[in-house]
Amino acid sequence: MKRSLVVVACALALAATGCAPKAEKAEAASPKVFRFSYASDIPTLDPQMGNSMPSATVAFHIFDGLTRMDNGAVKPGIAESWTVSDDGLVYVFKLRDAKWSDGQPIKAQEFEYGIRRLMDPAAASPYSFLGLLIENADAVNSGKMPVEKLGVRAVDDKTVELRLAYPADYFLGMLSMCQFCATRPDLVERYGKDFAATPDKNVYDGPFMVKEWAREDRMILVKNPNYWNADSIALDEIDILIVPDENTALAMFDAGDLDLVRVPPAFVEKYKDRVVYYYDGSNDFIKLNMASKGPLSDRDFRLALNYAVDRQDFVDITTKGLYDANPRYVLPQVAGVDAAYGTEYPLPGFGVRADVAKAKDHLAKAMARLGVADPSSIEIEFLTSDTDRSRAQAEIVQDQWQKNLGIKVVVKQVPYRQRLDMESKKTFETVFTGWAPDYSDPMTYLELWTSDSPYNHGSYRSAKYDEYVAFARKSTDKRARMDALFAAEKELLADGAIVPMQLRRESLLVNPAFTGVGTYFIGTNYDLVHADRASK
């Protein structure tokens, strides 16, 4: 007994001192290293499998598309020039002499391969819906046509031709996304399911390349010497640390262990002189299920719900005013014809404050039609996720609707994935949900609500709306197209099809020693391509 205790004690003592997993020390001051954190690991670096903001953000730094988004503007990427046919359907890209990080030249066939892989049902990309505007994409993705029929073709080693099903100006911007990037068939074949699983199992053609990736711990990106525009890159290294707890991340920024951190709403007041605000594109709204025979099928009832919420109070209480109350649907920042859509097409929508008189007016009309005498006999269910924040949001909406309309609102909280499941199965009455844009055009929000859209979980049906969107899909006249999209947005709101709520405005702290740290509202959130540190 005594001996075994001694052995245990020794083992424990050894454990306490000896066997910590090794890790290299951070470099000294000279290399320019930028450090930020994510709450959870980057799910994948396989370009066609990218399915999240973190994946897209890293991909933005390690891959280069035919084009590159630079602060909202489309710039040449691996393609140095391109032409678009008059009908807006055929794009021809000329590639520059660019190399992969392993020194191999980048070929048009690799773009053809990558884009086919995105739509190939056997590859099962979760983001294949992005490519549905390419000719035959739908048939290919559903297995009705061989992948070779897809509207992408390598004309020769340096020329890529893309054919679209309908004209779309935003396509050029979309091509900067990793899902449309060149992909090496030899590596996909060699590594199979392990492709891109570790830094050495893929090659890179963007400004940076992956040097180290310890899952749920950190990812180290270093400058890619073979990037065609490597001379313009100032940073030597980007360290992405995985810090699940946002309070910990903030403390690490304060201690100088991070150069950029997202400030939780509770702390924004404390740092308000130093924070930088940015919209991450997320647009939260309440989906209304119109398929039922209940009050939600009535337009006036839906309008009553819209006028009865006080969006300003909502964001003030739930985010301490960090998020923006949103009285309309489309994110104003997306591109219009010559300027931002919100500037070109302003819309007061439902207003940021509640309009109780209007709400009651619509409610009275709805009740007359529904044959209801007492509003308190109307009960609707409000579905949301099971987080504390969701509860707070739900309780405010519940309170506003109950107080301003006299109806009964029951809050139902379920886990996030179950909420999504219930949305797609249309087993909800009202649900707090949202949408993040995939490209800079009002269409990215408006295409959700056409009668045939897979995302139309509220079963909104409007022939007029469908017509506006269909017109915008066909038109090559930019102004007429944008007018149609605006008409669609107005139609959607006039029908009270959704209850717009808020635009997420995030607050960041950035180490002032760095310049050129960019943010964007589509796909990626941070842009460090032009970041630099003032020399010490």
């Binding site: 910590a20 690991d41 099962a124 810090v243 996030y416």
Partner: protein, 306 residues
């Protein structure tokens, strides 16, 4: 003895089989599925289900899974695309084990010392201090303890790193945070156990025979008082291991807890299953070892159970 051990092993394997089957069924019964996302379309979902073999009958999926499991293959994670569950565990477990062992080492060594000192100085101020430490430790959950330690030692006083796990200094706060509850528990147990032993005849006898105080404490009291602690070491190990989940999150340590939590959130079937099987196997093995050790130490148990 051989038959006894064999029997324990068979029972352990049966336990694991039941565990795998139940968890396999449970993850699939959870509402929602791994493919749910704001942007999922029926077409994409169909492609994904085919890719992961979810379009096949559940029984076939189960048999396929069991077939791979027997060969030690836990399959590919769904959230962490292109990474096998085996790889994830191989990388993450050393962190959790390291953290857990450190926490246990601190908890057991300090806890025992406090318990002994406290019992020997019963009703004196030092006893009161030890009792207060024990009460604090058992009443404050480890995540609060983690934040408190992080705030004072990391942020306020800047004495130790705030987070991550990159060297000895980084391990101190999480280990203490994780081990504190167990430390308190051990010290309380040891104190009461010591106080009981003090009354025993053999202690009185030793004292009457004129043995030195140190010798009595070491040879007669601690050796007998420590037995209950050895008994609870199994459950304690389990609680320390599960406690790592929260501590790992606070201190940004890439251990099992982080993967477990995110796998449940994202309904990553294979990862949830793989991790549960691994933890299950770990605990079953620990119990097996304890059972076998008991059998060796005490033949009565062997006879009674065998």
């Amino acid at each position: 003895m051989g038959r006894y051990i064999l029997k324990r092993i068979l029972i352990s394997l049966a336990t694991l089989l039941v565990l795998v089957t139940v968890v396999f069924a449970l993850v699939r019964l959870m509402p929602g599925d791994p493919f749910s996302s704001e942007k999922m379309t029926p077409q994409v979902r169909q492609n994904l289900e085919r890719y992961y073999g979810f379009d096949k009958p559940v029984l076939e999926q189960y048999l396929t899974y069991m077939g791979r499991l027997v060969r030690g293959d836990l399959g590919y994670s769904m959230k962490y695309a292109n990474v096998t569950v085996n790889e994830i565990i191989a990388k993450a477990f050393p962190y959790s084990a390291d953290l857990g062992l450190r926490a246990l080492a601190i908890a057991v060594s300090v806890g025992l010392t406090l318990g002994v000192v406290s019992a020997l100085n019963r009703k004196k101020p030092i006893d009161a201090v030890c009792v207060v430490v024990a009460i604090i430790g058992t009443s404050i959950p480890d995540f609060i303890m983690g934040y408190v330690l992080q705030y004072f030692f990391g942020i306020r006083w800047g004495l130790l790193p705030i987070a991550q796990y990159k060297g000895f200094a980084y391990t101190i706060l999480p280990s203490v945070g994780l081990g504190f509850y167990t430390l308190a528990l051990v010290s309380r147990l040891m104190r009461s156990s010591m106080l009981e032993v003090v009354q025993q005849d053999y202690v009185k006898t030793a004292r009457a025979k004129g043995a030195s105080r140190f010798r009595i404490v070491r040879k007669h009291m601690i050796r007998n008082a420590i037995l209950p602690i050895v008994t609870v070491l199994g459950p304690i190990t389990a609680s320390v291991l599960t406690g790592t989940f929260v501590i790992e999150s606070i201190f940004a340590i890439p251990g099992m807890g982080k993967f477990y939590v995110s796998s449940v959130q994202s309904l990553d079937y294979t990862l949830v299953l793989g991790m549960t099987v691994f933890f299950g196997a770990f605990l079953v093995t620990a119990n097996l070892i304890v059972d076998v050790l008991y059998g060796i130490v005490d033949p009565r148990i062997r006879v009674a159970r065998g």
